[in-house]
């Protein structure tokens, strides 16, 4: 059910969907709108559409291929980060270390390539190392019993520190990339115009399918909904937690590499990466995943990321002074979330949820 909307989600910032919302007063479209609202992602879809229509109507330059392309580097990494975070937040935990994992992974990759290992095996090795980092998070939470907020906060500082130590606080040139030409490797892993979009959509579809249709997803919801009950029913709660932290770290590490390849350098800047962490968490929550656990949607998180992207891009095109960017962003998030809550009430009132 949830995956069906994936096909429409990426297109929602392109003309066909925008037009579809115009004759929404008709019977068929009205029915469609009602069905839309019964989805967990329904409210954020509506809010995103409203934002899109607002910027399209008030700025002439907004609704163009150019601005869509400009949107991608902002929204795609966020969507992938958020997709992994959904798995952790659906269990009622949170992973604050994704920004730091995102930060350190290109530097790990750089070191491994420096050992003389080819690019693809280096990438795989990097992802394996990142998975171990996620597993450590999971072990602290599930076995040691540290609250995930604290455990992953510790991991955040450890990895930020490790990045600064490893890099001597100096930026690196990403291996496999070149400033002059786009190598095939670079094109495939982030530098191609639509490379990140394809990865984002692929990862979102796979993870949403796992969450909605597999046992793993069922247990993820069960652990988030009633941890003791899930354990009594025979669900291996610890395994589910560790596994989900691994997924979350893996997506973060992968985005780190995609982004470093895209700009062909990696800068050891912990404050920037933690900004991304907060935006990813915002995308997850805006998308409809409960902070308390028990309900989550990867597609919703993608739309949440899209919403944040449209908002930032729209404010830029409107010519809002850069100083006001965060202020407007914050206010807009609060307004959008308020609308979200009301739409959600309509939704749950309409008989599903």
């Amino acid at each position: 059910m949830a995956v069906k909307s994936t096909s429409g989600a990426p297109a929602s910032s392109t003309p066909p969907q925008g037009q579809a919302s115009k004759p929404a007063r008709g019977g068929v479209a009205g029915g469609l709108l009602k069905r839309l609202l019964t989805l967990r992602e329904g409210s954020i879809i509506v809010v995103t559409l409203i934002t899109l229509i607002y910027f399209s109507a008030t700025t002439s330059a907004f609704f163009s291929v150019g601005s869509f392309k400009a949107l991608l580097p902002y929204f795609c990494p966020l969507a992938i980060l958020a997709a992994g975070q959904v798995f952790v937040m659906t269990t009622g935990e949170i992973d604050l270390s994704i920004g730091a994992v995102y930060l350190i992974s290109p530097f790990i990759f750089y070191k491994i390539v420096g050992l003389g290992i080819p690019l693809i095996p280096s990438l795989i090795l990097t992802l394996l190392i990142v998975m171990v980092l996620g597993a450590i998070n999971g072990l602290f939470v599930a076995y040691v019993g540290i609250a995930s907020f604290v455990a992953t906060l510790g991991m955040l500082f450890v990895l930020d520190g490790a990045t600064l130590v490893m890099s001597h606080s100096t930026p690196i040139t990403m291996p496999g990339t070149s400033i002059l030409t786009k190598t095939t490797f670079a094109r495939f892993f982030g530098a191609g115009t639509y490379s990140e979009l394809v990865w984002a959509l692929g990862i979102v579809i796979v993870l949403q399918a796992v969450l909605s249709f597999s046992r793993w997803g069922l247990y993820t919801v069960a652990v988030g909904g009633n941890r003791l009950g899930a354990a009594e029913a025979g669900v291996n709660v610890r395994l589910v937690l560790v596994r989900n932290f691994i997924v979350c770290a893996t997506t973060a590490g992968f985005v780190g590499i995609l982004e470093a390849v895209r700009v062909s350098t990696a800068t050891p800047d912990p404050s920037g990466s933690n900004q991304i962490l907060l935006q990813a968490v915002a995308a997850v929550i805006i998308g409809g995943t409960l902070m308390t656990g028990g309900a989550g949607t990867v597609v919703g998180a993608l739309i949440g990321a899209l919403f944040l992207g449209i908002l930032t891009e729209g404010l830029t095109i409107k010519g809002v002074s850069a100083n006001y960017d965060y202020l407007y962003l914050g206010v807009a998030i609060l307004i959008a979330m308020t609308v979200n809550v009301y739409v959600q009430r309509v939704r749950t009132g309409s008989g599903r949820g």
Partner: protein, 316 residues
């Protein structure tokens, strides 16, 4: 061997019958300084319904959790169908045919009725191991119909259901499995008379079929006498009474409980139990002599609070 907690205490020695499916000997369990079970000896015969009684906090739920593999005893041994039995997990116990309805029902509010019914027994598609919701819905409907539980919609989250319906689903989940030993921890706690009657009818039907053996924690003596073949009473961490229900009565069970209350009050006031005249009996409102009053109080009692914290158990 456990030391008697007071003079004249009766401890049921290990007993057995030739057709035992489950036997436990000298089971002990403590949580830090709190002794939950001191020395439990108990057996369950094939096709039998055994009622487990005891005061709140007596360790009934702890015993059930040990039997079903959720917790491990500190000492003592268990046998299942002739072989040694030490379940490593709830799952492991289930593969041995032991399944449980927990006091908190172990339902996931956010999941649908049929997902809850099939939690840990999911039906999957092949070759891609996705959930076969269609098949699960069909089988869930069939199982509920067979049991005779009326749940109008099975694809809504269980959060939408009434307390009684939720309880019915928890019971249905266990009964519709392959288990031949079923443990029920207060299956009637949240139920009205009508729904509770349905569950007891269900237990009676299982008893008639004779293939399933049941251990059931109950608070209501009338229910115990109506549905159980035999009754075990846990007192101070041991089985203090083991009798067929045909040889006991509400009056006898009540008398034991009244005695327990009296002893607890005496202990709380620094008395040393046996041998001391009971000066508090008349003045103390808690020492009740009218059995009916005690029955009422017990049946209205809050759900038992176990000595272990739920959060700790979840981490285990």
């Amino acid at each position: 061997m456990a030391e008697p907690a007071f003079a004249g205490e009766k401890i049921v020695a290990p007993t057995s019958a030739p057709d035992d499916v489950l036997r436990v000997e000298h089971i002990a369990k403590r949580f830090g300084p709190t002794v939950a079970l001191r020395d439990i000896n108990m057996h369950l015969r094939k096709g039998e319904v055994l009622g487990l009684l005891g005061d709140n906090g007596a360790g009934k739920s702890t015993l059930i959790k040990i039997l079903c593999g959720f917790q491990k005893q500190d000492s003592g041994e268990m046998w299942l169908k002739g072989g040694p039995y030490q379940p490593k997990s709830v799952d492991d116990a289930r593969t041995h045919g032991v399944d449980t309805v927990f006091q908190d029902l172990a339902l996931i509010d956010q999941l649908s009725v049929f997902h809850n019914l099939f939690l840990r027994r999911e039906r999957l598609h092949r070759p891609i191991p996705f959930l076969n919701n269609h098949l699960m819905k069909r089988d869930a409907r069939k199982a509920l119909d067979e049991i005779g539980i009326d749940i109008p919609q099975i694809d809504v989250p269980v959060a939408r259901l009434s307390g009684g319906q939720r309880q019915a689903i928890a019971v249905a989940r266990t009964i519709s499995g392959d288990a031949d030993i079923i443990l029920l921890d207060e299956p009637l706690a949240a139920m009205g008379a009508k729904e509770g009657g349905q569950i007891l009818d269900l237990i009676d039907r299982l008893k008639d079929e004779g293939t399933v053996s049941v251990i059931m924690i109950l608070h209501n003596f009338v229910h115990v006498l109506a549905s159980c073949d035999r009754v075990n009473l846990i007192q101070d961490g041991v089985i203090g009474l083991d009798k067929p229900t045909s040889e006991t009565s509400v009056e006898e069970l009540t008398e034991i409980v009244v005695e327990e209350y009296r002893r607890a009050r005496l202990a709380a006031h620094g008395g040393n139990g046996a041998g001391v005249a009971d000066p508090l009996a008349a003045a103390d409102p808690l020492v009740v002599t009218d059995p009916a009053d005690v029955v009422e109080r017990l049946t209205a009692a809050d759900p038992e609070t176990t000595t272990d914290s739920p959060a700790d158990s979840a981490r285990e």
